[in-house]
Subunit: 322 residues, 2 copies
């Protein structure tokens, strides 16, 4: 049995898993992301891979490769993290640093590339020749799979859809810009809008505020989604607004790329049709050439929170055996 490790490094947690050739997760390991210290993140990667390798040996198997997904700009060499808005990496030679300590082939890629690859290989994107995958989390991650190949761009940093400007001069973004799509359609946007609404004193937000114990800053994405699912009108409004912004951005991507399918994953996608319904409506409403062109499907992702590590395990394995 050939097992590969996939590691998904997010802004708040490191999730790793032992993954077989069919994309099945044999077991997992988790740690909080250790602040912004690059060395500490490396230690954590080495630690979780060690833990999973020990588990593999108990099963009589070996770990053949390690794929590390990073929330940042990864260079074409798939070794260097050029920049991460949420972590300390700046031109960080992450692959070599980890590979030297693990004595196994290591590959580094953007986390959204990992998730997209998993959905194309094993999930909602199977069989699609022109796939755009969106990870709706704290921000927006994205990736393109064209004819079964991840399209990384000239320098490796394609797919940063969340940082396309949709509202010139709009909300400041962690990337340094203003009005980026992810400021209007992401977990962060939901939280900001929901707190602002809760703070407004509007009667429509009364129940939402009650759920948050009277403290607007206690409104979180999951709390809002739960309230919306229970029928709370203010929470539904927020998801509708954010979904509409999301759909407008999808129409922009369709104008540029004409995909057959969008697959939407990430934490915020758990709001399901409360978010994707308005998104599909706004997408159909804003698409250029609407009525005279076949329209891309907008599907929910199938692999949930494990998509990133499953994809990175598969990419790492392919690279090691290529």
């Amino acid at each position: 049995m050939s097992l590969a490790v996939g590691v998904d490094i997010g802004g708040t947690k490191v999730a790793a898993g032992l993954v077989d050739e069919d994309g099945a997760v044999v077991c997992t390991a988790r740690r909080p992301t250790p602040g912004r210290d690059a060395g500490a993140v490396e230690d954590t990667i080495v630690e979780v891979v060690g833990e999973l390798a020990a588990h593999a040996r108990v099963c009589g198997a070996e770990v053949v490769s390690v794929g590390v997904g990073a929330a940042g700009f990864v260079a074409q060499d798939r070794a260097t993290v050029l920049f991460s808005p949420h972590l300390a990496w700046r031109n960080e030679p992450l692959r070599d640093a980890v590979q030297n300590r693990l004595d196994r082939p290591v590959l580094v890629d953007n986390d959204a590339n990992g998730a997209a690859w998993a959905e194309w290989r094993f999930g909602a994107g199977r069989g699609e020749s022109h796939l755009v995958c969106i990870t709706l989390g704290t921000g927006i991650g994205g990736a393109l799979v064209l004819d079964g190949r991840l399209e990384r761009g000239r320098y490796g940093v394609a797919g940063e859809f969340g940082h396309m400007v949709l509202v010139p001069g709009g909300h400041r973004c962690e990337c340094g810009g203003r009005g980026c799509w992810e400021q209007y359609a992401s977990g962060n946007a939901v939280t900001r809008e929901a707190r602002e609404l809760a703070r407004s004193g509007s009667p429509v937000a009364h129940e939402l505020l009650r759920r948050a114990g009277g403290d607007p800053d206690a409104v979180t994405g999951p709390l809002l989604t739960e309230a919306a699912q229970a029928g709370d009108p203010a929470a539904r409004e927020v998801l509708e607004d954010v979904g509409t912004w999301f759909g407008t951005g999808l129409a922009n991507l369709a104008a540029a790329l004409d995909p057959g399918t969008f697959v939407v994953g990430g934490g915020l996608s758990e709001a399901g049709d409360l978010l994707l319904g308005p998104a599909r409506a706004a997408f159909a409403r804003s698409l250029t050439g609407r009525g005279y062109r076949p329209q891309a499907r907008v599907l929910a992702a199938q692999l949930g929170a494990q998509a990133g590590l499953v994809g990175m395990a598969d990419l790492g394995r392919r690279h090691a055996t290529a």
Copy 2:
């Protein structure tokens, strides 16, 4: 000698040329685009091809193929025009209609695909693995050449960059949307802004208005470019504003696609650095991850107004001999 015909059908004129294997134009033929009547456009194509074929015979050569570039959405089959905002085509089987009358292999493609292909094969985009080509004319046309292949999308209509929304709720666009990029960065945008400025009565626009004989509606794109080149401050402001919008949109495309090179052609690109200077500045200023990533070059196209027909001739020839 193997000669191919390329035909470029724009909103106002049909330009055709006899093109050799190295992309050199042997001779050309031109007609005004006959209104919005699909049948009359077909007649015009047949007419110009006939004229050029007669010329080829005089040179002792035969026309081996015909490539037709259309300002519209061309389906994946490269035979059907799904929709054209400026012409009468709606699901028009243009290739078969023309091929039946010409008795030669015919290929239809989007006009911006033709121009991009020409710049990649023979012009400013040579050798670039990740090329985004923009045609700045009345509107914005665009195309992607990835690893030497035109990327047309799942249904053939990728590259409609001009219809990405950059200003939600902004100016109405001929595509039916609002706030499309081409409403802010194109020949149409230049004309609209220049006329509005001329009409404003502002002293800054006095000289521009004088050049237009006192009539704001007589300000055209070429007149404005000429005034800007002569140093007129109002004309320069307009090109600066439009260039800034153009650069903001380029940064969005770079976020999504990470090209190595943008090539910018089309009539408005003749304003040169008066437009491309501000565009490059806005591009560098709005690019996500700036300072931590290699930055795409923004180059002027090299093939001028003939790019479309040169590219279509080459695409048609390749298709016929494949």
